[in-house]
Amino acid sequence: MRQDSLSNPGALRRSWWRASQRTRLSIVCVGTAAGMAVTGVALSGIPKGPEVAAPTLPGTGAAGGTIRAPGAADRQITVTSVPAVELIDGTDAAANRPLAIRVAGIRAVPDCWAGEARARALNLLSGKQVWLVTDNIHPARDGRVHAMVLLSDGHDYAYTVVNAGAALADTGPGAAANQGELTAAQAAARRTRTGWWSSTCSAAPAGDSTTSTSAPPTDQVPTTNTPVTPTVTGAPAPPPAMTSSTAPPADDGVQHNVHLGAPCSPPGARGVTTQGQDAVCTAKGNDPAKWKKA
């Protein structure tokens, strides 16, 4: 401390000593508030919790996707059976009643790989507890509740299976809240040839419900069933693009998640929209067939 620090102080200390008590209090209050604000801003960058690794499906190594905590309104479901990758049967833990669920935002892979996809879905879900994220618990026309499903660790089931190549993203408008994420996951799975995208059946001409083409892959997978004219190129470029025609009709013969007004095939086919409305594939004159209300 300098010898003259008390008898001959600097301007700042002098002004502090000579300020009125009210001024000093104001300065300290403002300083404290500013300190709290700066501290809050500085600490707001701390991550809110450890990231949970996404579950991986056997043989895929697929991981990722956002994690969300179940909300208070979300229902906990104990999975009892998995008829298909996009269909889950379970028991509502709160109401203790059976519930049939159709996972929003995904479609089944073609039949040739459906068994494998189901096995992987079973591995993820069988006997597990999942969270049903939906505002509407009432079943749609197909008798199933259309909802987002969260795995017990908070990962989106739809994202997980699409990312693992065990399901296809439903790119129809309003199919899911995280549609962009699902489409990106599908593109990644396709790029890395994961799951169905690596199978031989994805490159081979499919049966009645699928039509493989040699067209370059595209990430957009329309949900409608417009027949695709195969593009003749010099060499096939596997894996083929998943087109609407690769979307298999569900086991009940009804095409699901169709969109009214969208092209469809074959004329006369029955479908159910994402809202659960019945639809019929109707052709008028020379116009291509489109989905109309049943």
Partner: protein, 197 residues
């Protein structure tokens, strides 16, 4: 707040203290060159080389000084929720420990500083007195309502002529124990204090 606050004369906050002079040589060797003493004979904590004593505390409610340590603890307590809430998702235990630890840490830092690093005395303002009424042995604030204090050793009247008005202004020359001397107008108001330690 303080009874003396209203009577505090308007001061130029940035005016440099040219009125405090270095210790002058006293040919008679009077007692104002001795160091100031507390009533029980000990030298006060925070005593500087020229006899002024550094003090802690800047807030006084009526006759009761508010400890700066308490204010430090209070400010630390206000900061605690900000830190605790930010840490809660990642370190819940540390977050909970913040609540008692922060104020204690703030008070501890204040105590360490005012006791060891930059020693300072606690002092209580007791009233206001004009410079001409100062008496030997009185403790006063040298710069304002807070800040360093000194023990008056000698008060001498002196005359000064104001250049602008040609009027004569009465001033007093005050010497403090420890040697430092200053000159104030005779009606300059000073806060008398009671050093605590």
């Amino acid at each position: 707040m303080n009874a003396g606050e209203k009577a505090e004369p308007a001061a130029n906050l940035f005016r440099r203290s040219t009125d405090l002079l270095a210790p002058e040589t006293d040919p008679q060797g009077v007692h104002h060159l001795d160091l100031p003493r507390l009533p029980h004979g000990a030298t006060p904590r925070g005593l500087g080389e020229q006899g002024l004593v550094r003090t802690t505390g800047w807030l006084q409610f009526r006759a009761h000084p508010i400890s700066s340590g308490l204010i430090t603890a209070l400010i630390s307590l206000l900061l605690t929720p900000v830190v605790a809430l930010a840490l809660l998702p990642v370190q819940p235990i540390v977050s909970g420990l913040c609540v008692p630890l922060f104020p204690a840490l703030g008070y501890g830092c204040w105590f360490l500083i005012t006791t060891w690093l930059v020693p300072a005395s606690a002092a209580r303002n007791t009233g206001i007195v004009a410079a001409r009424e100062l008496k030997t042995g009185t403790w006063v604030r040298v710069h304002g309502m807070i800040g360093p204090i000194g023990q008056v050793a000698r008060v001498q009247p002196e005359q000064e002529t104001a250049s602008s008005t040609k009027d004569s202004v009465e001033r007093v020359r005050v010497s403090f124990a420890g040697g430092i001397t200053t000159s104030w107008p005779h009606d300059h108001l000073l806060h008398t204090v009671e050093p605590q330690n």
